[in-house]
Symmetry: C2
Subunit: 195 residues, 2 copies
């Protein structure tokens, strides 16, 4: 019996494996809203489609990079001035924030979602303040049938942790976040030696 | 070795299997632009994730239904007045049109794509003329790593074939279509008896 579901050949597929191995050591896993995620010691970022041993992991979170969904040309020009650079040696801290939004959100039309996302919640314009200190990468998970809709990965220097807290606290109080039904805040520290 | 790519649990996953079985008998497969698709006699629409026998098929095209990407609230209200009803016994004809757009298209921002899609090409407003005679369903394939970005499935009565031709001919001459790098036009007729 062949599994038709083996369709992900998207080269941008990234898997976050939660378990006991990986470069990123877990500092905390806090459930902001919805069902918790099982606690793990480390997170491994897996770019390949094959794993030699799956038993090392308690869970996997998967996502694909995709085209821009809300950003305008003008906003993108601003964002492009300060590109996100991951893997900077001084950015020793990271955060992985998986998010799921309600059915109600996804039934909104494009202009309604954009209005809430930016006009009301200022998601892009507020976040722009942190471009120079917080690197980020967004992965889409909803259309590949994952439990979360998005995974956002952030990297920053330890001294900018308070800025990161400021950013997530701001977002959690926006109109947009009223549609968030599940959110986990995973904080990590780079620890290459015990990889 | 576990395949991490077995991730599609999305219940909206639909597979079009091209081969020698299925309700829909192929009338023609015409390559509009790009690499052709192997000719087949029939197409089977598979909603489950498992297949008992894969050898019946020459190819599979897969897609997921998703949220609206360009439609505004106002446009959606118009569209909702004439909902697409598939599987109508009098709609004996169908068309499956897989499309791929260029990298250039996907690098455009949301407002740039919307401008080309509707302001310039009138994709929604022109297509609206055919709502009462042509039923349709859009599947997204890009983010699940397929060779095409979209699959659109249409059903209509044989007497409205010329309207369908009018619709696709219009779209193929739009600004939006300049970004289409691969398109196959598959016409079908319902043939339940030889299912």
């Amino acid at each position: 019996m062949d599994k038709l579901s083996e369709v992900i050949t998207n080269s941008s597929l990234t898997t976050f494996g939660g378990g006991q191995s990986g470069t990123w050591k877990v500092i905390s896993i806090i459930t902001i809203v919805g069902q918790p995620l099982e606690l793990v010691q480390r997170i491994e970022i897996i770019k390949t489609k094959y794993l030699l041993d799956k038993t090392n992991y308690k869970w996997f979170l998967r996502g694909v990079t995709s085209n821009l969904r809300y950003t305008t040309k003008e906003e993108n020009a601003t964002l492009d001035k300060t590109p996100s650079v991951l893997d900077r040696p001084d950015y020793k801290y990271a955060a992985l924030i998986p998010i799921k939004k309600s059915e109600e959100w996804w039934l909104l039309t494009q202009d309604e979602r954009r209005k809430i996302f930016e006009d009301t919640s200022r998601h892009i314009s507020y976040s722009s303040k942190f471009l120079s200190t917080i690197a980020r990468k967004l992965y889409h998970s909803k259309d590949i049938g994952e439990n979360f809709d998005f995974l956002t990965w952030f990297e920053f220097a330890p001294e900018h942790s308070h800025q990161f807290d400021e950013l997530v606290n701001y977002l959690r109080n926006t109109e947009e976040w009223k549609y968030v039904t599940r959110e986990i805040d995973i904080r990590l520290v780079r620890d290459d030696k015990d990889k």
